[in-house]
């Protein structure tokens, strides 16, 4: 009895090839059923995301040919496409799954979405009846490892995108964002993404202002906010908590001189300014004012970069934790496999 894993991932294939081999959710049950009918396959789980399509198989034959299986699944497969396939034997397969569940194999190192995707893949396989004693145990163990790695290391700490870093900072200044007044100044792509990030963390009072009022209205409707004419945005400043600015103005539109009288009326409430414009919309001197925190693109990118570096450093610690779990599972699997071989020998004595 053997475990092995094969498939493609963002590490072995580009997006075109990954699209070719992806299995949509709607086709997963059918694919699992067909996989279960392949001679020699005892258990199977199919993990298909935008970054990977992986088959986890338990089979009696460790040399199970995967090329015919791929031809059966995807129609004629060219040799050049098969070069993107990877195949892992038992222990590396176990290690690979644990690393995948922990986010160590993800394109964005340490991301947590993959954990849910692995869980859904396993649940689909369990519903289709293609899992058994080995893969049940392997995947349960993978979920345990994923949780352990996330809680015991800093692999998921911090954010690695500009929008998420800005929202993390906003939460560290204000706590919950639901009662905060947020203005999006300039309806560009970056500010829209940041607005969505803020909304996803509970922001409710969003205002959009843009030179083109129509664009402001479109974005405001999309994010469930209110559009404000560009000439009026400064009137709202007194009540604002967060300003996301990304206009195409050639000079700073938020200056110390403009802000000083407003700050006196704000009664000591902090103001967080996310300046995503290039050239910058906010005079750097504004950051020196009490209770005002200005973060521009460079500073947000620097924080994201440092977080990624921290995560990279953490991979060693993660691998150390994973290796212990791999060993535990290997010991259990070898015991089971030996028992199965023994039973097979009793049932089918050599003549």
């Amino acid at each position: 009895m053997n475990i092995f894993c094969f498939g493609i991932s963002h590490q072995t294939a580009n997006v075109e090839i990954r699209e070719r081999f992806a299995i949509p959710d709607s086709g997963l049950a059918d694919a699992l059923t067909r996989l279960g009918q392949v001679p020699g396959v005892q258990e199977s789980v199919l993990l298909s995301t935008c970054n990977r399509t992986e088959f986890y198989i338990v089979a009696m034959d460790s040399q199970l040919a995967i090329e015919p299986l791929f031809h059966d699944f995807y129609g004629p497969v060219e040799v050049s496409e098969l070069h993107h396939l990877f195949r892992l034997p038992a222990v590396p397969s176990i290690r690979h799954l644990f690393r995948v569940a922990s986010g160590l194999e993800s394109m964005v190192l340490g991301e947590t979405e993959i954990f849910g995707q692995v869980k859904r893949a396993y649940e689909a396989a369990a519903r289709s009846g293609t899992t058994g004693r080995i893969l049940n145990r392997l995947f349960q163990k993978a979920f345990h490892v994923g949780k352990h790695v996330r809680s015991a290391t800093a692999i998921t700490r911090g954010s690695v995108s500009v929008g998420s870093v800005a929202v993390d900072l906003a939460e560290q200044i204000f706590g919950k964002l639901d009662g905060r007044k947020i203005m999006i100044l300039g309806a560009g792509e970056t500010s829209e993404r940041t607005a969505w990030s803020l909304k996803s963390r509970g922001a409710r009072q969003l205002f959009v202002s843009n030179r083109s009022f129509e664009r402001a209205t479109v974005l405001a409707e999309a994010i469930g906010g209110r559009a404000i004419r560009f000439d009026d945005w400064e009137d709202e400043f007194q009540e604002l908590d967060i300003l996301v600015s990304s206009t195409s103005a050639p000079h700073a539109i938020v200056t110390r001189a403009k802000l000083e009288p407003v700050l006196r009326l704000r009664r000591d409430r902090p103001l967080f300014i996310i300046d995503l414009a290039m050239p910058r919309d906010v005079d750097p001197a504004v950051h020196e004012m009490d209770g005002v925190y200005v973060y521009d693109l460079d500073s947000l990118r620097a924080i994201a970069g440092r977080t990624l570096e921290t995560r990279k450093k953490e991979t060693e610690a993660c691998d150390g934790l994973i290796e212990k779990h791999v060993h535990d599972f290997e010991v259990w699997f070898n015991r089971i496999a030996e028992g199965a071989v023994g039973r097979a020998a009793i049932e089918c004595p050599r003549t």
Binding site: S151, A152, T153, A154, R157, G158, D168, L169, E171, Q172, I173, F174, G175, R267, D268, R269, P270, H287, D290, G291, Y293, Y295, S299, A302, I303, T310, E314
Partner: protein
Amino acid sequence: MLLEISICGFWVFAGVRPDSLLFLFMNWSDRVWVELALISYLVGFAYSVYSLASHKFLTSRTSFWAIIAGFLLTTIFLFDRGHAIGRCPITNRFEVLVFMTWSMVLIYLVIGSSYRLSLMGAFTAPVASVLLLFAVAFAPSQAAARRIKVNPWLEAHTSFSMVACGAFALACIAGVMFLLQERQLKTRHPSSIFYRLPPITALSVANSRLLWLGFTLFTVGLATGFLIGDRINWVQAGWSILVWCVYGGIIVARMRHAMAAKWVAALSIVAFSLLLSTFWGIRFISDRPSF
């Protein structure tokens, strides 16, 4: 015994003669509760430091339970000592320091959960450890003579004043945490601790409310001091009024928004440092009425 050896090691390292440390091995009485509480707070402190330094991001449950244990042990001591002397156990510096620590931790336990200030425990534990370390190492712990007749105004005055000091201590801790967050935001270089500390606005609110709580209790303590009915000690009274004015000034400035939150935080640290440093010079609490 382990604690005694550790403390001895610390003070020998600090240049204190070993023979002068013999007092630590004597007087095994109810002070053992305080020593055990000190161990608990040190454990909580060490665990928080380990958790933060190792980036393991372990839950702060261990620190929290260590603080709970320390609080219960000091409660036992205060109950035991109070029962023995027949009055509120604030009759010498040892008892005062223990009572101040107890008050500070009590307020932390009450407000900590309300303001999502869980990591405040990591900052409360070291302050509690330092206060108890000073109590154990420097302050004689002999119990005062049992009182037959207790002056309720004196009891109210001393206990309100001490609980107020506990609130001021926590305001100081919230101030330290605020300035830590503020600095990281201003330098645009947030470290891992930044994301574990509470939001800066929550710290500002906690700082203000603790100052208010401390000031209210201190005012009651001060007022009841005038009702004790004994001759007023004007040195102590003057010092108490000065402390009251300093904290009152900070609160008024905060109310009138004349001062940024960071200056309020900084001043709550300065004011508590002033309170602690002058504490030894002023016979704040004595067997006699304070003033």
